[in-house]
């Protein structure tokens, strides 16, 4: 047995490998993305990107039905997309085991909300496991697949960013091969017609009762007896923080958190004088425990929002044993938020839209960064694919008011994820709103994952390729125009032209992600200081390579500049120069 420092995501992948897993699917989404990337390193496993989470879950559930242990991984909002198969899979059950990973993001480090997906497990009445570190992440995947098979249930593995992205020591074991189960046609189980589903619902309720009994004495839940004056119930990462702050307390550490093991909880609460429930986000455990008439303290002291850490818990319970000796000094520090990279293909498009004073419904991707200064060129960002429906809906509400000034902006991967149906709707319902697909040939924001439009698989092997323009044509859009987003004059002309027409139009800004392509257009540009009039136009494109010198004149940082030429095109006096060679 060897050991390694693994992130939670690496550990989930490892656990799936060791448990004989054979099929894995996902759509990338922070903080879950590395699960599939790591699984793809194990050649025994078929691992593939799906166009969205719903499809990922359906294919993984099909593989489990077909007889092999399967996994589908997604970020928390991805489970919203996959909710349809998720809920009904609960009724259907499994053949070989299946794990669905929901990677939640308290504090919204990289998300549009901080929903607590533990409610999904309760609502869908499936077993849920919550690991608190990488070793547990691995163990829970392995034990969870068995649990899935033993109880005929999908298993939700609910993690949070701090578990997915923290590293800790994990014991490694060899893979155990599991013989595939035979696929057998079984209408009563697998065809959810009302007559079958009614019978299945009875079994779902019985399953919950059996799982709650199982939770009394299982590998996922444990009591750590300490001082009996204080008992703490927690799950997931909160356990690690609470152990730091209350080293002497008694702990009921729950790994199986749906359904809750009330026999165990009652036993524990009966033997401690005071009971705390420490859990991030919603009072998921607390409300259920309180509803049983057990007196607990939790959210009356602890926040409902944001990540916890040891300091949050210490201050909530006014623990003074750790003197706060840290302090900041009084100085304003300029913020350093993530920005569109130097040379990013999105920059020119947003500059043009700003120049044309458009109303822009946005979407999820790197380009969402265009919402922040200096570009500030995005009116909305709701969820994957919403740019299209939002633009369409605003058009229907405002009539001619925004005519020729309204556009939805969506990335290539996001368009394939859930923009297509919106576009079909737009055409079908005779809207004329324009859509711009920022096609940078990759899922960039999450760290460069392939998708059905790139022509490469998860393992970067050649495969069939979707043609975005053909999809638009097939949806009924007659006007599909490609532009080079690095050519501002051309882009402005195309935008003006397309915005003026009285029918739907899709503009595809066609240029690869500069980081992915490792491309340099030229040697770094330079500024002729005598010509620079400090007008600041170049700063308005928001490129990290563009700085000011001591005299307030523009200076280009040669470490960052890749010669994309956007700043030269906006420099009216012509101070920004391309090097000769």
């Amino acid at each position: 047995m060897s050991k390694a420092m693994l992130s939670g995501n690496e550990a989930i992948a490892r656990g799936f490998y060791e448990a004989g897993g054979k099929f894995a699917a996902a759509y990338p989404g922070t903080p879950s993305t590395e699960i599939l990337e790591n699984i793809s390193n194990y050649e025994e496993i078929t691992a593939q990107w799906a166009p969205n989470e719903k499809v990922a879950l359906e294919v993984a559930a099909g593989a489990a039905l077909g007889g092999v242990r399967s996994i589908a991984a997604m970020k928390h909002v991805g489970l919203n997309v996959a909710a349809d198969p998720f809920f009904s899979l609960s009724y259907q059950g499994v053949n070989a085991g299946i794990i669905i990973v929901s990677a939640d993001d308290p504090s919204m480090h990289s998300s549009q909300n901080e929903q607590d997906n533990r409610w999904f497990a309760r609502a869908a009445k499936v077993a849920m496991l919550e690991p608190s570190d990488s070793q547990e992440a691995k163990d829970f995947v392995m034990l969870g697949l068995k649990l899935s098979e033993d109880f005929d249930t999908p298993v939700l593995l609910r993690t949070t960013t701090r578990v997915n992205h923290s590293k800790s020591i994990v014991n490694l074991r060899p893979r155990v091969e599991i013989a595939p189960k035979k696929y057998v046609k079984n209408m009563a189980k697998n065809v959810l017609l009302p007559m079958n589903a009614r019978k299945k619902h009875v079994l779902v309720e019985e399953r919950l009762i059996r799982l709650a009994e199982y939770g009394y004495d299982c590998a996922f839940n444990r009591i750590e007896w300490g001082d009996n004056s204080l008992g703490i119930i927690c799950s997931g990462i909160s356990y690690q923080y609470a152990k730091e702050i209350f080293p002497n307390a008694s702990f009921l550490k729950l790994g199986l958190t749906n359904p809750l093991p009330f026999k165990l909880i009652t036993q524990f609460s009966g033997r401690v004088e005071k009971l705390y429930v420490i859990e991030e986000l919603d009072p998921f455990l607390e409300e259920q425990i309180s509803a049983r008439g057990i007196k607990v303290q939790g959210k009356e002291k602890l926040p409902m929002m944001g990540e916890y850490n040891p300091d949050v818990i210490a201050s909530a319970f006014a623990i003074g044993s750790k003197p706060q000796q840290g302090r900041n000094i009084a100085v304003n520090i300029p913020s350093r938020p993530p920005v569109l990279c130097p040379g990013c293909s999105h920059r020119g498009i947003f500059y043009v839209m700003k120049k044309l004073r458009l109303t822009v419904t946005g979407d999820i991707g790197c380009y969402t960064l265009a919402a922040i200064p200096p570009l500030e060129m995005m009116d909305t960002c709701l969820c994957m694919g919403a740019s299209v429906g939002y633009a369409h809906g605003i058009e229907k509400a405002t009539g001619d008011e925004l005519k020729g000034k309204l556009i939805g902006v969506i990335g290539d991967s996001t368009f394939l994820h859930s923009g297509i149906t919106g576009l079909i709707d737009l055409v079908y319902n005779q809207a004329v709103t324009k859509i711009c697909i920022l096609d940078n040939h990759i899922t960039a924001m999450t760290g460069h994952q392939e998708h059905p439009g790139t022509g490469l698989t998860l393992r970067r092997e050649a495969t069939n390729k979707v043609d975005l323009a053909e999809i638009c044509h097939a949806a009924g859009v007659r006007r599909v125009v490609r532009v080079d987003p690095y050519n501002l004059d051309e882009t402005i002309a195309v935008f003006k032209n397309e915005l003026a027409v009285d029918e739907p139009s899709v503009i595809i800004a066609d240029a690869p992600c500069i980081i992915r392509a490792r491309k340099r257009f030229s040697e770094p540009y330079y500024v002729d200081a005598n010509t620079c009039i400090k007008c600041g136009m170049c700063h308005r494109v928001g490129c990290p390579a563009i700085e000011k010198d001591e005299n307030g004149k523009t200076r280009i940082n040669p470490l960052f500049c890749i010669g994309c030429d956007i700043c030269r095109q906006v420099c009216k006096p012509g101070a920004i120069r391309k090097p000769d060679k």
Binding site: K3, M5, T30, P31, H109, S110, D133, T161, R162, H165, S166, K167, S168, I169, I237, Y239, Q240, Y241, K243, E244, N309, P310, D311, A314, K322, P323, Q324, Q325, G326, R327, N328, I329, V331, N332, I333, P334, S335, R336, P337, P338, V339, L340, C341, C366, L369, P373, P374, A444, M445, T446, G447, I515, H539, G542, C543, P544, I546, E547, K548, N557
Partner: protein, 199 residues
């Protein structure tokens, strides 16, 4: 030295590494945790990544000792802040112990926000740090790395500077660096590590 005795008696070590995306902060923290694990400690590290590829602040928290629960450092308990950029450590001074060590690379990477907010890049950074700790190590890691022949090895230079304050066997450092860096750059990274260790 009696600092070594102090080191071995400590229960938990807390190190915060920070810098700017693309500087190699995360690779450096991966090397550090591997060295700590090989030395026999329980280790946890935590970081947040996932937004855009470069240019943003990057922070990685490393904790090691006999038994580690939280992957996040308590306020006021960091033994060392290792800052790959001149001002990045300023953001995390509340995490530093009162007698904690600040090691910083004297390289300025100007954030874009200074051009459209009224907050400018701080001056007299050294004096600002001195308000907070007497244990200050300032090094010009870029100049050191360039002198060695590759500006990309600044993370090995920074780890070398950090290694002076941790009771790890230099051979383990070198073994892990060898394992982690591209094979062609093994020698230059080892040289960089020792150059940082001299600082």
């Amino acid at each position: 030295m009696d600092t070594t005795r102090q080191k071995s008696q400590k229960d938990v070590w807390n190190i915060l590494l920070c810098g700017v995306g693309g500087q190699g902060v995360l690779v450096a923290s991966d090397i550090l945790i591997d060295v700590a694990m090989q030395t026999g400690f329980d280790v946890k590290k935590s970081e947040i990544h996932g937004m855009a590829q470069r240019g943003g602040s990057v922070v990685s928290q490393v904790r090691f000792g006999q038994k580690i629960y939280s992957p996040i450092i308590h306020q006021g308990e960091a033994d060392v802040i290792l800052s790959f950029e001149k001002i990045e450590a300023l953001r995390y001074l509340d995490i530093l112990k009162n007698d904690g060590i600040i090691i910083y690379n004297d390289q300025q990477i100007t954030p874009l926000s200074v051009y459209f907010t009224d907050i400018s890049y701080p001056e007299n950074v050294k004096e600002l740090y001195e308000q907070r700790s007497a244990h200050l190590v300032q090094l010009d890691a870029i100049a050191i790395a360039e002198e060695i022949g590759n500006p990309k090895v600044i993370n090995s230079v920074m780890l070398g500077a950090l290694s002076n304050y941790l009771d790890f066997d230099p051979q383990i450092w070198l073994d892990v660096i060898t394992k982690r860096v591209p094979p062609k750059t093994t020698e230059i990274n080892k040289i960089a590590f020792y150059a940082g260790r001299k600082e």
